[in-house]
């Protein structure tokens, strides 16, 4: 059964800290891994990763995929209170239409 596991489930840090969120997967015929940020309602797209070892970056956020070890990390540097959200990891595999989601990491940034 395809499985996506995120850790930690919850993380509380102070503004300015750097955080690393983890996502591991057990998916056969992997196609891509996606990161989403969910604040109040809609998951909003952050990154889509298909190739191992290539970092994707957007401002203070970056992400990388390791297809050999079957995991991805999402880094956020110089965190701000606006980064507080649930971060979702999802995996898509070949021959299927669906995304398989992890349970999410609830990140809280305290001022």
């Amino acid at each position: 059964e395809d499985k996506v596991v995120q850790s930690p489930l919850s993380l509380v840090v102070h503004e300015g800290d750097t955080v690393t969120l983890n996502c591991s997967y057990e998916v056969t015929n992997f196609r891509s891994l996606l990161w989403y940020k969910q604040e109040k309602k809609a998951p909003t797209f952050l990154f889509m990763l298909t190739s191992s070892g290539i970092e994707k970056k957007s401002g203070r956020l970056s992400s990388i995929l390791d297809k050999k070890e079957l995991f991805s990390i999402l880094n956020i540097t110089a965190t701000q209170t606006g980064d507080s959200a649930i971060y979702l990891c999802a995996v898509e595999y070949q021959g299927a239409q669906k995304l398989v989601f992890g349970q999410g990491t609830r990140l809280t940034i305290n001022p």
């Binding site: 996606l34 809609a42 909003t44 797209f45 889509m48 999802a90 299927a96 669906k98 995304l99 999410g104």
Partner: protein
């Protein structure tokens, strides 16, 4: 920036009633999806839709559920004879192509079945 829009934002219905959740995907997108998230649980895939037909569905998507694209813009999820366990946030999503584009999600419809 174009976005996926869903209506209503909140729907309360009695057990056994039928509900229709509505979505307007991003206009140049070709693939459409419904996901749901029961409170405190993972986001779960329900169904994907392409070229006016279902391309994949999950075990959750049984005969109680149906989808339709009645015109060039709307995409609907119908739930017949709702059950208490259908209470969840229902997300519509769309993408331009199947392989190289991410899903874009709407803000969801919170369905409460009493």
């Amino acid at each position: 920036e174009p976005e996926v829009t869903q209506t209503p934002s909140h729907q309360v219905t009695q057990m056994g009633q039928e509900v229709i959740l509505r979505c307007v995907p991003i206009s140049n997108h070709l693939y459409f999806y419904w996901y749901r998230q029961i409170l405190g649980q993972k986001v779960e895939f329900l169904v994907s839709f392409y070229n006016n037909e279902i391309s994949e569905k999950s075990e959750i998507f049984d005969d109680q559920f149906s989808v339709e694209r009645p015109d060039g813009s709307n995409f609907t999820l119908k739930i017949r004879s709702t059950k208490l366990e259908d209470s969840a946030m229902y997300f519509c999503a769309s993408r331009t192509d199947r392989v190289n584009s991410p899903l874009h999600f709407g803000n969801g419809t919170r369905l409460t079945v009493t």
